[in-house]
Symmetry: C2
Subunit: 628 residues, 2 copies
Amino acid sequence: MKDPMKKYCVEFFPNGISVEVDEGTTVAEAARQGDVFINNICGSEGICGKCRVRISKGRAEADECTRALLTGEDVRNGYVLACQTQVHDNLTIVIPPESRTEDSLILITEAAEAHNESMDTPLVTKVYLELPPPTIEDSISDLGRISRGLKKETGLQVLDIPLNCLYSLEEDLRKNDWKLTVTIAMEKNGCWILDIEPLDTADKNYGIVVDVGTTTVVVQLIEINSHKVMGVEGRLNLQARYGEDVISRIIRASGKGGVDLLHEAVIKTINELIEKLACENNVALEKIHGIVAAGNTTMSHFLLGLNPRFIRLEPYVPVADVYPQVFARDIGIRIHPNGIMRILPGVASYVGGDIVAGVLSTGIARHEKTGCLIDIGTNGEIAIGNNEWLVCCSASAGPAFEGGGTRCGMRAAKGAIEKISISNGRIKYRTIGNKRPIGICGSGLIDGIYELVKNGIIAQNGKFHRDLKDIRLTQVDDVPEYMIAYPDETETGTAIVITQSDIDNLIKSKGAVFAAIKSLIDYVGVLFDEIDRFYVAGGFGNFLDVPKAIAIGLLPDIPEEKIQFVGNSCLTGARMCLLSKAYLDRSLEISRSMTNIELSNYQPFTEEYIAALFLPHTDRRLFPSVRY
Amino acid sequence: MKDPMKKYCVEFFPNGISVEVDEGTTVAEAARQGDVFINNICGSEGICGKCRVRISKGRAEADECTRALLTGEDVRNGYVLACQTQVHDNLTIVIPPESRTEDSLILITEAAEAHNESMDTPLVTKVYLELPPPTIEDSISDLGRISRGLKKETGLQVLDIPLNCLYSLEEDLRKNDWKLTVTIAMEKNGCWILDIEPLDTADKNYGIVVDVGTTTVVVQLIEINSHKVMGVEGRLNLQARYGEDVISRIIRASGKGGVDLLHEAVIKTINELIEKLACENNVALEKIHGIVAAGNTTMSHFLLGLNPRFIRLEPYVPVADVYPQVFARDIGIRIHPNGIMRILPGVASYVGGDIVAGVLSTGIARHEKTGCLIDIGTNGEIAIGNNEWLVCCSASAGPAFEGGGTRCGMRAAKGAIEKISISNGRIKYRTIGNKRPIGICGSGLIDGIYELVKNGIIAQNGKFHRDLKDIRLTQVDDVPEYMIAYPDETETGTAIVITQSDIDNLIKSKGAVFAAIKSLIDYVGVLFDEIDRFYVAGGFGNFLDVPKAIAIGLLPDIPEEKIQFVGNSCLTGARMCLLSKAYLDRSLEISRSMTNIELSNYQPFTEEYIAALFLPHTDRRLFPSVRY
């Protein structure tokens, strides 16, 4: 009989952390127990392949069915998926850089900056205090007693406190034997008290991070003390009904009450996501005291109820790019009434806090070698730079990469086709969560269009070969479309197709992104070769097939190993700022030091855009490795 | 014919300021024009005698009828009342210390601390900006532009801004040609923006100061730029209906909703006074951006809506003694919605911000020589100290000095009898504003009781001589009372009397105050002789007849010249804090450095109290100069 309590030691590198775990524990779980952070994009479902680690010593039992996500070479070299591999031996595990999450970045940075105490100061901190009751010899005020206790415990001076914390303080303190938990927000010269709760709730410190996307809003619930992401939820921004892109929404907002309408829509979206997460994780909304949001400049304006109308008019001036700190309640966000909200600062009207978050999370602004961040959403934003300089630009990409503006497009959620391959007239696809397909998300669309060119179904100008005999190619009202999933395969009973118009839209989108990259590279006078690392961010799926993204001309033709898909870098940056005020300060530095290049007035961009409306590009010399 | 434009030069000392004025201008008006501050307690009505100045060179025309307020020696020495004296010659004027207001103290301090820039930083400051409109080369955000302009103008970094300032900012700026006035509140490392108004309103910077007394609430409207008191209004605290003293109000507040009731009453009192002042002076409420209040600890609690119930229970602990900064709107005060409110910090449950304000305004804590402040209101509070140490105590005096708890008592308002003399059975009295009498205020009561003893109408134990034949002495239900004004003399047609019970109450009140002074003096081990200056503050009238106050045993028997009546020192201290943030900081230092002696547990106090229930005192050795 198997001993259920058999223990093994698992050592992780480069962290150098060892944990002892029960036999049968997964490697991913072992890592969590040791606070070693490994990518877990799919929630340990074994479908994203992002938790690839190498077993350098010891024997592990890997789930066979996940082998599809590993190459033969991977398997020979000892790679496994951490979430699908059980511990049955003492193990030494090496985590490759691409499988580390930004949380490990935080840990590494914290280690490096160990002397900088503020590095481990989250936006909100909880401190448990047990105070001596007042006597005639020690009769200072209740608040004075708390301030004195807090100073003794943390060394921090209390700067101020919201009045509502004092309303039943005298009763709460005496009822609970002078045991209390103070929630504080750190400042340079002290701290603000945000909340005083009875008894010890210091282990219940929750925060929220929000990626306020034009098309999609994504929210994470964070356990601040452990840095743990308790859950993530995304949904269509309810503003979508008022227009697909920022320009149409700004126009919609220009009428009477229009700003309120768009403000309320995004607040409703966020509140619903927070409530869902709080409910699923059994966390009361009043236990959430901090929220960090990032979005493009227009979204940040609507979030606060500011009027972004001059963003679309030359000289493109926002009301603000550094936003006031507000109580979440002031803008209708339902967490603790004194919960504070920070919105990451932006750079210009079309380069917002989402890009600042991306630059922060990828570390571009800290490294000597030049890096490039390409964030592909409804807008495509590019930032290039290093620890000495930073430039950025943006171009409207349209909603195609996030599943908008295409017939069967959807956001990267369960049931979305995220991977397509076509071979000898046979189609294989994979959906997120292995569900019956509902639509195609951005990464699926990129795959699909690549496969259509590769198989000679569309030409390199994106047009279907009308005379082609292919049972999946049909004409509806004289417009060709290609069948990806027949009605009987899908969840909805409706066929999933890629239409001529979808392809035209996607080519325009990828053309705008590539033209922006090329324009910026040329503007700063660097060569693609001189860029050490390309970080690709975006909400178009859980992963991006980099060679295919190059092959359609979305990404430049550079060695694959230089390109790293970083997923939702906006959310990552926002989370870093929630967990460490030092990152919040750094986000302000980044926003201040980044130079925005306004492409709308930049003649070469228009030329680059037209040249890029081809698969991969009209200038084949730019894509030497691409062969169709 | 007289030339109406004839000009004369008036030079003021010790200020050394000269002004040229039209012939016939009063000396007080000339001082105002030169920003020289002279006491003006009665509003230039020539009745308080507090603007006594000496003409050392030149000829002036003094109003004869005001001579009553000057002694013969004064007149011989060239003293006049500044408000009743017209300029008909070039004059050199010397302002004696007792006629200088605390505003001159501020000026003098400012001169002395000229290198300390923050000394002239009021709670709220207005800065007018004309900004360059945005261009494609200079397209920073609207808020960024304002911050940049403000930094250029003042050197100050903007720390934060309330969200509501940004709501129609983009429109206001463009409509008004980028001309705007920013209202800021200075902090150590920068400033907060409180308001952004179109065009130039920098000269309209108003503030409010409030003395939140248990019996009386007094409000001043201040023009911050010029330090000018535009108006003052006082009225009974509407809380009075819930009890006469703090203890009865705390008990009243202990029921459900009780705190709200008392909170709303005091807020209503203050709002009505502010509205009256604003209306009279043609100042819109939204032009008032700052308010400083001071009161005893219980009043400060009710003001903020805090529950003071543990103030009356041993060990007498308030919820707070340093109060949060709030937006005035948060507690229902109607000024500009972003107007900020500071409440001066207190020391203990029975020594509040009013005493801290008094210590601040008298300068006790800055001088080497020991000073003593005696603030006589519903509570009597005493502070003794110098620039090295400060101790304080308080004793319940009851409302008699503020016109409460006596049959015909009233606060020091127009129509109040403030001065009484009895000679050969004839009574002379003077009312505030020379109106028909309505009642007797504190100073009138002190005079009255002195005169009753002096004329052998009451004995030194305060009891009427029942067998005395005096037409004014009557018995109502066997209780004797003395007629001060017959019904046909009064405004109301009701007789104004002093009853046995009034006298008994006043003796208890003065006994408590004197016992507190004596106890504290003995506690710290100093002698009366060692105290350089006694400052007497209180709301019992526009002036205090010091010899009579000594003769009834309210004040210790010390040389009259050492005693200075400073009027409402609470209001003065609050005004100093509105006009200079440095004083606000100093008020915090004072509150932290002052040691409270709790008399309720201090046995000698009870003995002193009983010994003091006599006119002037059971121990005649303490009052050698008093002869009846």
